[in-house]
């Protein structure tokens, strides 16, 4: 990002000119200054907003004490159900926040054509269980990832969505930068939902990257309960440290318990087929070959 050099000097002088400040204040002032300069390129006039996930433990791990609107977030799902479920849960938080703010609650979900991959398709009545109103959803279905990402970018250009989701298999750095910029300009939260196996080690301009996989729910589970539990890894967050939790979604909010990283099971590429329908190309390889794609983020543990 190009910084206007002539604008820095007086601003810096003003923040350092005052005496009697602690180092922490200095740091905060500098951060604010950097943020201000960075935002100069996007004259949106929007103040950055954050949505609480309803669980302080997660919120504090995120910059701004919540999930940033006007940013790109990447969710890598170890299995389709967990990915779609976590996505729906995040949307429910955004929906709730938009509702209290009186803003539009419409969502755009860009997805592959039904039946294009072996994975299942989003089932709208299931969204109701997360407290979402399916009538607020608009779906755009594309044949190729670039069509889906294009739909997302178009959606981000329109004021009037509470969130825009794109369900893709691959996302390169260039595309993620474009989308991050579009999200920032619009002030709308953008989510990339993708299979974990294709997300490994790729650089991305997303503000946060999450990894979600299923975990057994707490017992006893009530009959008809809408509760869902996931192992959630905040793999990457700009300006923060990565964290791991076991989260439970219940009654419209998350509750989290810290989880040691060693608990993280290896991504099961054993059959591969149910990870968003990824073709089982990884299925019959040797362990050595597999480890190169399995190692998502840190804490790779190979189960023999």
């Amino acid at each position: 990002m190009r910084m206007p050099s002539e604008g820095i000097a007086p601003a810096a002088a003003s923040s350092f000119g005052r005496g009697g400040e602690t180092a922490g204040d200095h740091l905060a002032a500098m951060r604010a200054e950097v943020a201000r300069i960075e935002c100069q390129n996007f004259s949106t006039g929007l103040t950055e907003r954050f949505v609480s996930l309803g669980e302080p433990a997660i919120d504090v791990a995120l910059p701004g004490r919540g999930l940033a609107l006007g940013a790109l977030h990447e969710i890598a799902a170890a299995d389709t159900g967990a990915g779609m479920g976590f996505m729906a849960a995040l949307l429910a938080r955004l929906d709730f926040e938009a509702g209290t703010r009186g803003a539009s609650r419409r969502m755009l979900w860009a997805m592959p054509l039904a039946g294009l991959y072996e994975a299942g398709n989003l089932y709208t009545p299931g969204l109701v269980d997360f407290g979402l109103d399916p009538n607020q959803f608009l779906f755009a279905r594309g044949r190729r990832d670039i069509d889906i990402l294009w739909a997302m970018e178009e959606g981000l250009r329109v004021p009037g969505f509470a969130a825009v989701v794109a369900e893709v298999r691959t996302l390169n750095l260039n595309q993620s930068q474009r989308l991050a910029l579009a999200a920032r300009r619009s002030g709308v939260a953008a989510f990339i939902l993708r299979p974990a196996v294709t997300a490994a080690f790729e650089p991305s301009a997303a503000l946060t990257r999450w990894w979600v996989h299923s975990t057994p729910s707490a017992r006893p589970l009530r009959a008809g309960s809408r509760e869902a539990a996931w192992n959630l890894d905040l793999v990457r967050v700009r300006g923060g440290a990565s964290r791991c939790w076991r989260v439970v979604w219940q009654a419209g909010r998350f509750t989290a318990h810290d989880r040691a990283r060693v608990d993280q099971p290896r991504i099961e590429t054993g059959n591969g087929t149910d990870h968003f329908g990824l073709a089982p190309i990884l299925g019959d390889r040797s362990l050595e070959e597999r480890s190169s794609v399995d190692g998502f983020g840190q804490g790779l543990s190979l189960a023999g």
């Binding site: 389709t80 159900g81 479920g85 398709n121 989003l122 299931g126 608009l138 329109v158 009037g160």
Partner: protein
């Protein structure tokens, strides 16, 4: 119009032959061949006797039809009502309804002259006639003297009867046998035929002959049905020089849009579907069709929809005409329109201006922007998405009153309905037992081990992996929709009662399974349907001792429905 393609040097006589009446006969002859005495219908041997150096080609009626259809599309530059002449088994010409179109080209004579000249450039020798009825035009194009027809004959409607009177009866589009029979009794011309009492003619030759006579004279109406439905509104441009460049194309599209939008505004209509067609100099027609989710005459929006695809248009060596047609229109009353200057912010919502293009200030009309401000933006977005992804791929969900999970939601294309605003109160969404967040398009067959009669599986295999069930809920019985007719090939299985179970495996993945149908009373207490050899780690010893095991049966789901093996199991969805 009678059309014959002169792709070869016109000096050499050339005929097209077809197998007819037990031999090769001349189907069509060019001018040189006709000068040598060769006429259609003549046996090829006779024609060769007249002119030994005759060049011959076999008839390809399919290609003829396709070429004619192409030519009909090309002719829509003159009038939207262009159709093939369906007389006889082969299409031999084109009909154009030029009512109300001729003045755009400087009159009927000028239109015909332009048509013949442009066809000649394309290498088509045409005979054309304009008359008050299709029958008269047909007769004149074929039976008028050759120089007149090649120039384009125009007959005023009051002169129709006198002009037709001198033409042979064959000009009435009747069977050659009928014509020959009339000829034998001395009725050689249409005029002579018209003198005969009608009752006599009907008794001798049937009603068809009189129908043709009346149609030619305009006593009965003979409609021309166009190849494509005629658009509600259209605007056309004819270029002095062929255009092929991006800027010119864009400018012409803009001009057409401006004209059409004015027409739409004048009639209180908004466009839902539009087609922009360019007529290439080589006779091809290339077009772009766009759709919108609500009636619009917003210039900026429509331009954007077209602009995305204009650059992909292949104009070859250039196009000499462009037609923009609003093929589907809906009411968009003028009182809902507010003018807003393009490039200005919405701070000036009520600028009272007319839609003016020439003055350099461009105004756009957009639908009422009160509460619908966001909706209008979304509708515009849906249009853009739909025009790239496909109209059926921008959808919104609507609940359907059905217990079958795959039928409980219907996806409606945004561009198919009036708007995405959802004016009608939708049916309530399912609020009963939990539903999965992810559903498979086709339920996937699984191999299960489950106690009878109504118990959830203990173990199941899906996509080559064994899942051990640690928690389950159910069954939720979903009955048969017996009132619906089974889709062909679906078989009895689609009509079986389903028992749905929500299960969780040891890794915490939550599935939605169902058993299709019920166990029969005679079934064994436990059904084990799995392929034991391929899967040695399945712990058979875990089963409680009072259960007996059935021998392994094939994993193929198709065999599950057999009475011996019990009902089939499927995995239908994934929970969060």
């Amino acid at each position: 119009m009678d059309l014959a393609k002169d792709s070869v040097s016109p000096a050499e006589p050339f005929v097209i032959v077809t197998a007819l009446q037990g031999g090769l006969r001349v189907a069509a002859a060019d001018a040189a061949a006709e000068a040598a005495g060769v006429v259609p219908g003549m046996a090829l041997a006779d024609a060769r006797a007249l002119y030994p150096g005759l060049r011959v080609a076999a008839e390809d009626s399919l290609a003829d039809q396709q070429a004619l259809a192409k030519l009909a599309a090309w002719c829509s530059r003159y009038s939207p009502w262009a159709s093939l002449d369906r007389y006889g088994e082969r299409a031999l010409g084109l009909f154009l309804d030029i009512t109300g179109c001729a003045h755009l080209f400087g009159g009927e004579e000028a239109l015909l002259a332009d048509l013949i000249r442009r066809l000649a450039v394309l290498g088509v020798t045409a005979r054309a006639a304009a008359a008050a009825t299709p029958g008269a035009a047909w007769a004149l194009a074929r039976f008028a003297s050759t120089p007149a027809a090649a120039r384009g004959t125009v007959v005023a409607s009051e002169a129709t009867i006198t002009v037709l009177a001198d033409l042979p009866v064959l000009a009435l589009r009747i069977e050659p046998e009928t014509a020959a029979s009339l000829d034998r009794v001395g009725l050689k011309t249409i005029g002579a035929l018209a003198q005969v009492p009608r009752a006599t003619l009907t008794a001798r030759y049937g009603a068809k002959l009189l129908d043709r006579l009346d149609a030619a004279f305009g006593l009965v109406d003979e409609p021309i049905s166009p190849l494509a439905p005629a658009p509600a509104l259209r605007a056309s441009l004819i270029f002095a020089e062929p255009v092929a460049h991006g800027d010119d194309i864009e400018r012409s599209a803009d001009r057409l849009l401006a004209i059409l939008i004015q027409d739409l505004a004048g009639t209180g209509l908004g466009a839902r579907r539009m087609t922009l067609a360019f007529y290439r100099t080589d006779g091809e027609v290339v077009s772009i069709a766009i759709g919108t989710s609500r009636p619009t005459r917003d210039l900026k929006h429509l331009r954007r929809l077209f602009a995305e695809r204009l650059d992909k248009l292949d104009l070859g060596f250039g196009a000499d005409a462009a037609v923009l047609a609003a093929t589907v229109v809906e009411k968009l009353p003028p009182e809902q329109i507010r003018m807003r200057a393009v490039g200005e912010s919405r701070r000036r919502p009520d600028a009272q201006s007319l839609l003016t293009i020439e003055s350099g200030i461009l105004f756009t009309a957009s639908s009422s922007r009160g509460t619908g401000d966001v909706d209008a933006d979304l509708a515009a977005l849906a249009d853009r998405l739909g025009n790239r992804l496909g109209i059926t791929n921008v959808v919104y969900p609507m609940p359907v009153a059905s217990h079958l999970p795959e039928r409980a939601v219907a996806l409606h294309a945004v561009l198919r309905l009036a708007s995405i605003g959802g004016e009608t109160a939708p049916a309530p969404w399912h609020r009963g037992l939990p539903r999965p967040v992810c559903l498979f398009l086709k339920p996937e067959p699984i191999v299960v081990m489950a106690p009878t009669p109504d118990h959830p599986p203990v173990l199941f295999r899906w996509r080559k992996r064994v899942h051990r069930v640690t928690w389950s809920e159910g069954p939720e019985r979903v009955g048969v929709e017996w009132w619906r007719v089974a889709s062909p090939g679906a078989g009895a299985a689609s009509f079986a009662t389903r028992d749905y179970f929500r299960v969780e495996d040891e890794t915490g993945r939550r599935f939605w399974l169902y058993r299709s149908g019920l166990y029969r009373a005679s079934a064994a207490p436990v059904m084990v349907t799995e392929d034991r050899d391929a899967d040695p780690e399945v712990p058979h010893r875990d089963h409680r001792t009072h259960l007996t095991l059935l021998p392994a049966v094939a994993a193929a789901a198709s065999r599950f429905a057999t009475p011996e093996s019990g009902p089939a199991w499927f995995l239908h969805g994934l929970f969060a």
